[in-house]
Symmetry: C2
Subunit: 204 residues, 2 copies
Amino acid sequence: MSINFEGLSRKEQIVVVAAQLFRQKGYEASSMRDIASAMRIEAASLYHHIKSKDEILEMICFGMAQKFISAIGEVNDIYFNAEERLREAIYQHVKIITDDMDKSAVFLKEWRSLPAASLQEFMRLRNNYEHEFTAIVENGIQEDIFEHVDKKFAVLSILSSVNWINEWYHPDGKMQAKEIASHISDFVMGGLRKKLITDYNYKP
Amino acid sequence: MSINFEGLSRKEQIVVVAAQLFRQKGYEASSMRDIASAMRIEAASLYHHIKSKDEILEMICFGMAQKFISAIGEVNDIYFNAEERLREAIYQHVKIITDDMDKSAVFLKEWRSLPAASLQEFMRLRNNYEHEFTAIVENGIQEDIFEHVDKKFAVLSILSSVNWINEWYHPDGKMQAKEIASHISDFVMGGLRKKLITDYNYKP
DNA sequence: ACTCATAACTAACGTTTGTTAGACAAAAAT
DNA sequence: ATTTTTGTCTAACAAACGTTAGTTATGAGT
């Protein structure tokens, strides 16, 4: 367990422990009894703090969604150049993921277990976020610093790259968020930035 | 339901229907009664053809794994140049995914529900496959046509890009496997191929 | 006509699931 | 000192789960 576990409300503690489990075994495969036992209490006791198992998943998914959305909002407010904006957006995204690998794993992979109503809202938020990235890429093309590529395609490639971090990042590894984001940005920019290639192997 | 459904053994039909469901709702959230009802029979009747629910998941995961592995085996036998090999490996990977979106979704996202024993074997196969990609990238660096990048990092980026197809590809869309693979290859090569950039915005 | 394999059925099993009701203990507020 | 709040407990619920047993229907080969 990482730091600061005490000092959290009991409800937030449950969410943290649940996120750990959901990441490990998946939402459906994790029972309320599993969560309870990880907290060394009985399953029924959980219901003094939370309404349902669904609510835990909702708190994780929407909590993370809000972080991503407000992050890209700030980026678009501050940074002017499209490349700078994209690089910063990527960094913020990477940072949010690496800051809480458990919750982001749940956010990325378990959201479809949300109850129907929440699911719809969640997908709306996710679309919004995706659209903010598309806007940056569009700007980059207008500003003539990005190649004229398929926008949707480019955005999906970018997001797939940044989200994949969740499969292999370890907090105690060599790379930290800044470095990872920089690597990914370079990789992505390689496919986006306008360039004059003098490559003996280049085929247009 | 796509073509050729009849003509399959009853067992294979069950696997096809199950893959559809597993993709839609996830393995844990799909019950044997769900599968049975989709086939318009009773749950108990399934057990005349299969041993267990686990067995269905195993058939899907290992069936797909074999396709991927034998594909990259052929690529390494035939194509000589590292860039050609990588492009063809990517194409084959994309083709396998787009050919069966249901089974590949299960392969990509539901494998951790495999029973412990199978899980270990599955991860071994997956590592092998990953390693074959790493080898191609290594060759590319030796042949001096790829940039000197972090190998593991590059491979993970490549695989994340190709696997992400499973999130958005539609068989009746504009792009087909060949075209998609070509786009992805270009994108990936942008980050790998040695180049001399004459970019007014380039910072080394 | 009889056999045999195939594929389905009904009924039920033991377990696990998310969740509720109501009692009890300790600490905080009055 | 007593009420209130907070957190936990035991016990149990109905529903859903994967699976088994034993039976019946269908069609092909003899």
